[in-house]
């Protein structure tokens, strides 16, 4: 779960990192007022997008009037689909140098990794490998000053200098945030050298959503659509996509595979919906309703029943059809636990279930192609 820049900076402050003087506002009036207080300011849209800078989400102002104007332009703006509702108004920093620092997880190494560079301010992917310092942490050993000291040295700073020591403490603090706050990413880019001080000019923090239960002080940030939220409440993994064939399957791998096959046959999936193992009839029915609400051209259900029982899935289908009606063609592939009973139920609903997923997918794509665009 990404948190907003201003929240990341609050976290940074609490762990002893320097951040620019600033304030969060929701109106242009407040923005003007804060600018009066601070002077020259940066006005930063608070959106959970990686493309904020390129998307025009950051403006500068030297006067209160300029700040007001900039804030007016930013508030309500859309950046990568996210509407700007809050602005962070911050002192404009005098920048001597820009560094990069992050702590994240290297899945391959199964360890945390600290990544740092003396070339900050741009995407780390664009920095040449030989300008990047990467240090993997031994989980049982943890972080220690010597580890940070080695990074400081490799970044070309004097470890005995004031800046060297400050950077060392920043590295220790960033790691501490990563560990104690259950983060999967703590990224400071740029880390600005500003005279004698080093300041975290940006804050990108992603919290492990599986650990939110023990991070009570971190507010829940909504990044999902209404439909995705509904699905989550059912314990179902659901991602909205751009296509017109609604997909329901059980298991992340098989659901992905289902989308792939649809695409291969020339179709466009409308979503990724993994109803997992053991979802009961009630929840399956609700999940179907979520799919229907998006007005797809076709619904494709691909169930390889293990813990999930085929009769439950078929029953859910029958239930929804009876209660709400299902106005679009449905293709169902159904094999596994209780498949005979499931197929029987579907047959009563006038549907002959497939056993082969390729054939079923091909059929779904074929049916979708029959519906003229814009006909729904």
């Amino acid at each position: 779960m990404r948190i907003f820049e201003y929240m990341g900076k609050e976290l940074f402050s609490r762990f002893g990192l320097r951040v620019p003087k600033g304030r969060v506002v929701t109106t242009a009036y407040e923005a003007a007022w804060v600018a009066t207080e601070i002077g020259s300011v940066a006005i930063k849209a608070q959106v959970l997008s990686g493309k904020r800078g390129k998307g025009g989400g950051i403006k500068f102002a030297d006067t209160s009037a300029e700040a007001k104007k900039a804030a007016r332009e930013l508030l309500g703006m859309k950046i990568e689909g996210h509407t700007v509702e809050k602005l962070l108004i911050e002192e404009k920093l005098h920048i001597d140098r820009e560094f990069y620092l992050s702590v994240t997880i290297d899945g391959g190494a199964k360890k945390p990794v600290i990544i740092a560079s003396s070339q900050g301010g741009m995407d780390i992917e664009e920095v040449p490998e030989n300008k990047i310092v990467k240090v993997h942490l031994d989980v049982e050993l943890g972080i220690h000053p010597f580890i940070a000291r080695n990074i400081v040295r490799r970044l070309g700073l004097d470890v005995g200098s004031r800046q060297g020591k400050e950077l060392l403490n920043i590295i220790l603090a960033a790691y501490k945030i990563f560990q104690e706050k259950d983060a999967i990413l703590v990224e400071i880019n740029p880390l600005v050298f500003c005279g004698e001080k080093i300041i975290a000019a940006d804050a990108k923090v992603i919290i492990d959503s599986e650990a939110l239960f023990r991070q009570k002080d971190i507010p829940y940030i909504e990044e999902q659509t209404e439909a995705e939220k509904l699905a989550q409440d059912l314990g179902i993994s659901y991602v909205e996509l751009e296509g017109d064939i609604a997909v329901m399957a059980n298991g992340a791998g098989i659901t992905m595979s289902t989308l792939d096959i649809i695409q291969r046959y020339g179709g466009a999936p409308a979503d990724f919906m993994d109803v997992g193992g053991g979802t009961d009839m009630e929840a399956t029915a609700k999940a179907l309703e979520i799919l229907l609400a998006k007005d797809p051209k076709v619904i494709f259900i691909n169930i390889f029943g293990g813990i999930t029982r085929c009769d439950d899935v078929a029953g859910a289908f029958a239930k929804v059809k009876k209660e709400h009606g299902i106005p679009v063609p449905v293709v169902i592939r159904l094999v596994g636990t209780n498949q005979e009973e499931g197929r029987r139920i579907l047959r009563e609903q006038g549907i002959e279930a497939y056993t082969n997923m390729d054939e079923a997918a091909a059929k779904a794509v074929e049916l979708a192609a029959l519906v003229p665009a814009g006909s729904l």
């Binding site: 999967i184 650990a211 023990r214 791998g253 659901t255 989308l259 792939d260 695409q263 293990g306």
Partner: protein, 288 residues
């Protein structure tokens, strides 16, 4: 032969009295797995399906010999259970639990490495050595003895392909679920090495998905293998930066793409199937 577990493996179930634990313990017993004991704090001294239940792992080990433990403990408490099994010296720990915080996972995976234990998962379907021992949650009907080793990041996709293989007349030596999380204990390369050394295994099916670089790392070893590998990768159509169910199934900053994985595997000499249904035919040709 088989890898990691076989007909002699004595299995302990941590969380045996819970909803998942009790259901799957019955399934494992039905498959023929030697479940010798269960753990459920506060329920020590009772029985579940004739299997004695204990309060702690150490209490189990006073009475039983245990080769492997399977964890059906809710995510918030899973770390404690995994460490308990490892600390007591259990050699193979299978972590079925999903939604475990990744900091916890890093902690117990590091400890497993230090204890030189095999840790399978988390968020895995488990492991099946066909006809001998099933530890975890796969449906019993799709796993029959045969020459194909399977290693996978996805449960249902494994069942799908296993079902197709069975239909085509190919059983499996062992099927291993690596788990769908960002980090996992046992990885492709570990399992491939074991299959390479296992006389029963004649070919390997590797089922990967987008995200991470486990498939790319495995490719380095596949180059050296004498046994043929058929690979299938899910997620070709997935948009970047969207998590597809599994925590690990996400293309981040251009890394972990379908294309990168397929390229690495193909260059290493693996046959890459475009659809799950193509796998049995590839295996047939390779084993002909």
């Amino acid at each position: 032969m088989a890898i990691i577990v076989d007909q002699n493996t004595r299995v302990m179930v941590q969380g045996i009295t819970g909803k998942q634990g009790s259901f799957h313990t019955r399934q494992m017993l039905a498959y023929g797995t030697k479940v010798v004991a269960g753990v459920a704090p506060g329920k020590g001294g009772s029985k579940f399906e004739d299997i004695p239940v204990y309060d702690t792992v150490r209490a189990v080990l006073q009475e039983h010999q245990v080769d492997a433990s399977v964890i059906f403990i809710p995510a918030a408490f899973a770390k404690d259970a995994v460490l308990e099994a490892l600390e007591a010296g259990i050699g193979t720990v299978v972590v079925i639990t999903e939604h475990i915080p990744v900091q916890d996972e890093m902690e117990f995976i590091a400890y497993a490495q230090r204890k030189k234990a095999v840790l399978i998962g988390p968020n895995t379907f488990g492991i099946v050595s066909s006809g001998k021992c099933k530890i975890g949650i796969p449906p019993n009907q799709f796993f029959m003895p045969g020459p194909v080793g399977m290693v996978s990041r996805s449960g249902t996709l494994t069942y799908e392909i296993a079902g197709n293989l069975i239909a085509a007349g190919f059983g499996q030596s062992t099927a291993v679920g690596m788990g769908g999380d960002r980090i996992v204990g046992l990885t492709f390369i570990d399992v491939l090495k074991l299959f390479e050394a296992d006389p029963e295994t004649k070919a390997v099916v590797l089922i990967g998905e987008i995200g991470g670089n486990a498939e790319e790392e495995a490719s380095v070893y596949i180059k050296e293998m004498t046994k043929p590998v058929v690979a299938y990768i899910a997620g070709k159509s997935a948009p970047p930066e969207k998590r597809m169910g599994h925590a690990g199934a996400i293309i981040r900053r251009g890394k972990g793409t379908y294309e990168g994985k397929v390229k690495a595997l193909a260059e290493a000499g693996a046959l890459v199937a475009e659809m799950p249904s193509e796998v049995p035919e590839m295996i047939r040709k390779l084993l002909a």
